[in-house]
């Protein structure tokens, strides 16, 4: 049967791990070589499928951390009772092969040519697609003002901490909050995200910002509710929830 729908179908493609970077004790970045990769947009994700020797398959979705044009990197947090993430974080090594499907997503994306101020709100590994946007801002030379509010449990759990420090400035501001434990001399926030914290760091509603929120369902709901209370319109707020299975 011939037809555009069939021709356009997305299939699983082989990928090879080309490098790995330890980000935190629970989080690792895997750089992938994907033959025929046609490029991606900041904020998109990939589905990853693993097949065991007996044919059992498990698949999960992981956000792409790299900026468009800068290869394919996934940053993965280990969920201890997960099927896929413990392998990706602890076991995968250079040369390992897996299957990927994607890139996926046309809603939770930011291309770098939008003029509006941008508010990024990340909970834990929810930083990953937002990091692709921050990297894209730098790479594309975007002048859109961008603020990131990043909630982590402890200072050791802050993914991309040094790179975020180096990206800050020139219209990109980073605000950290540590919800479980703060180191001596900590000058950032030290509580969960709520309406008051959002009010301190977010753009006034009159600026009609674009908002991207990524984290657990509970985190996303808290952030979105807080922003709505501050007068943001639902249509400005794009959200992506992370599952409890890894």
């Amino acid at each position: 049967m011939a037809g555009a729908a069939v021709l356009g179908r997305l299939t699983w493609a082989p990928a090879r791990v080309s490098d790995t970077v330890v980000e935190t004790p629970r989080v690792r970045t895997l750089e992938l070589e994907v033959p025929g990769w046609a490029g991606h947009r900041a904020g998109q994700h990939l589905d990853v499928r693993l097949t065991s020797e007996d044919g059992y398959q498990a698949q999960r979705s992981y956000s792409i951390a790299s900026a468009p044009g800068d290869g394919v990197a996934l940053t993965v947090e280990r969920l201890d009772d997960g099927e896929v993430s413990p392998y990706l974080v602890d076991e995968a090594r250079d040369g390992d092969e897996l299957e990927v499907r994607g890139p996926i997503g046309g809603y939770f994306v930011w291309d770098g040519d939008e003029p509006e101020p941008v508010l990024l709100v990340a909970g834990g590994s929810g930083i990953v697609p937002l990091m692709a946007m921050a990297r894209q801002r730098a790479r594309a030379g975007s002048s859109a003002p961008m603020r990131l509010l990043f909630s982590s449990r402890t200072i050791e759990d802050v993914v991309y901490r040094e790179e975020l420090d180096s990206l800050a400035g020139d219209g990109f501001e980073v605000f950290h909050t540590l919800t479980r434990e703060q180191p001596p001399g900590w000058t950032g926030f030290g509580r969960r995200i709520d309406r008051d914290l959002l009010d301190e760091v977010s753009w006034p509603a009159s600026e009609r910002p674009r908002v991207y929120v990524c984290g657990s369902t509970r985190f996303v709901d808290a952030a979105a509710d807080g922003l709505l209370e501050l007068g943001y319109e639902a249509g400005w707020i794009r959200t992506e929830r992370f599952g409890a299975t890894g």
């Binding site: 555009a4 729908a5 069939v6 021709l7 356009g8 179908r9 997305l10 299939t11 994700h45 589905d47 979705s61 499907r101 994607g102 996926i104 997503g105 046309g106 809603y107 939770f108 657990s216 369902t217 509970r218 794009r238 959200t239 992506e240 929830r241 599952g243 409890a244």
Partner: protein
Amino acid sequence: MTGTAELKLDGNAVGGIMLELFGIEATAMPCICAGCGAREEVARLDVYTGAGIVIRCCHCEGVMIRIVQGSGRTWLDLSGTASLVLG
């Protein structure tokens, strides 16, 4: 103990299977609930995954789409969707 709310995902999570089934990126496409008439992008709908995938309206919580895959086949129930724009 994980409650149902913790298992809730959103329509971003079904971008891969929608791309596989329909051949196009669907998460930014508008979808109208047959129950309450709300119009939302697929990415904003509530998604629950288990043996199959259940996509619910984020306003009335009515079931809009059900997808089950197995044995090389896909069963797709769109009876809760008034319309879905593709492309």
